[in-house]
């Protein structure tokens, strides 16, 4: 298909498609004339992937490029590609030696061992989780890692499904893409569900308490 058809099919403007081609996020089409190229279903799929990472995952262009490089690198095993994709989603942790974060990090590591979750030493997620726990405590939330056990068990069941689903894909690129989309988009969906639950519970509580400056006297 022509670039105008690719634009209609994907819902991405021609100008944006050309930007992604220049930035190396989208592979070039098959050159059919001096100023014309032919695009296929693979381009439509890649455009959808890029839009999902930017619009839903809110990744900056540089992170999208790094993540897509991991998708396209055929020399790594599926697991290493999954890891590269997931590690690329987290911003690199600052060299944070605050004592409360270091203490939370030791608790996170013990919790991961207890769960028998094998995590690469350079994965950014344990540090990010420790930082979150330390911040909750700074704001006096009485939180321990055990409070996340239920969420972890549920995440593990969901991960079993997602990993099996991705590994069942016909080819390697589709498997890594599926893992990436699953991670970014399920994460977003679950965050939105939490926000909806908070709003619903707050509304219910407001009716019960009926307090606050707006209450008619």
């Amino acid at each position: 298909m022509k670039v105008s058809e690719l634009s209609a099919e994907s819902g991405v403007s021609v100008a944006t498609i050309k930007f992604y081609l220049r930035e190396g996020l989208l592979h070039a089409g098959l050159q059919t004339a001096a100023n014309q190229a032919d695009y296929d279903g693979g381009h439509v799929r890649r455009l959808r992937l890029i839009r999902a990472l930017i619009d839903v995952g809110e990744l900056p262009i540089a992170a999208v490029r790094a993540t897509l490089t991991a998708v396209d690198d055929e020399s790594t095993s599926l697991h290493d590609a999954f890891g590269a994709v997931m590690h690329g989603l987290d911003t690199v942790p600052p060299d944070d030696t605050a004592p409360d974060i270091a203490a939370a990090r030791r608790e996170v590591d013990a919790w991961l061992r207890r769960r028998r979750w094998k995590i690469e030493p350079d994965a950014p997620a344990p540090h990010a989780l420790a930082t979150a726990v330390a911040i909750l405590r700074q704001f006096d939330f009485p939180v321990t890692l055990a409070d996340f056990d239920e969420a972890a068990a549920s995440a593990e069941r969901s991960a079993e499904f997602e990993v099996a689903y991705a590994r069942g894909m016909a080819d390697r690129a589709a498997a890594v893409e599926t893992m990436l989309i699953g991670t970014v988009v399920f994460e977003r969906a679950l965050a939105e569900i939490r926000r909806l639950a908070l709003e619903a519970v707050s509304a219910r509580t407001e009716r019960r308490h009926g307090s606050g400056p707006r209450r008619p006297v």
Copy 2:
């Protein structure tokens, strides 16, 4: 305390503190001399809040300002302030009329009614959830809203705790701040736990399958 002491206490550099003062994110200290002001525990707490929103919530400065305005506006009820804070976290949805998103949106609305979750008509989360569902389907994930029932029940239990905890705070500003921190930081913690679960399950599956180009022959 002096600005240098505020910096030491909060871990935020003096230059950054001055930037937040200029940007109106941090309220001015009590002027004690022409070029000196006195800061207190409220400033430390506000700096921690700003850093959590930026570092953990990854909010841009404009969104931090909008969210803090909702925290500081004493004229709204607690529930309205919670709503303003949570709606401020989501980017405003584009005027998206794609038929697959519109279809998913109708499913989201029916699901919310079924759960008896009362959500404001202008809340961005239902649209964001519908978009996530539509994208998962574009990538052939066979997902329905019922798949999120378990996550929703768990989010509701967690929200009951968080809302009660925030409402139990001594004053209104602390309640809204606590709700904001809880939303942003728990969300991040749960996302990191999902990434950890995916990595752990992928590692376990890799050992079982032992497939991939790196397998020694």
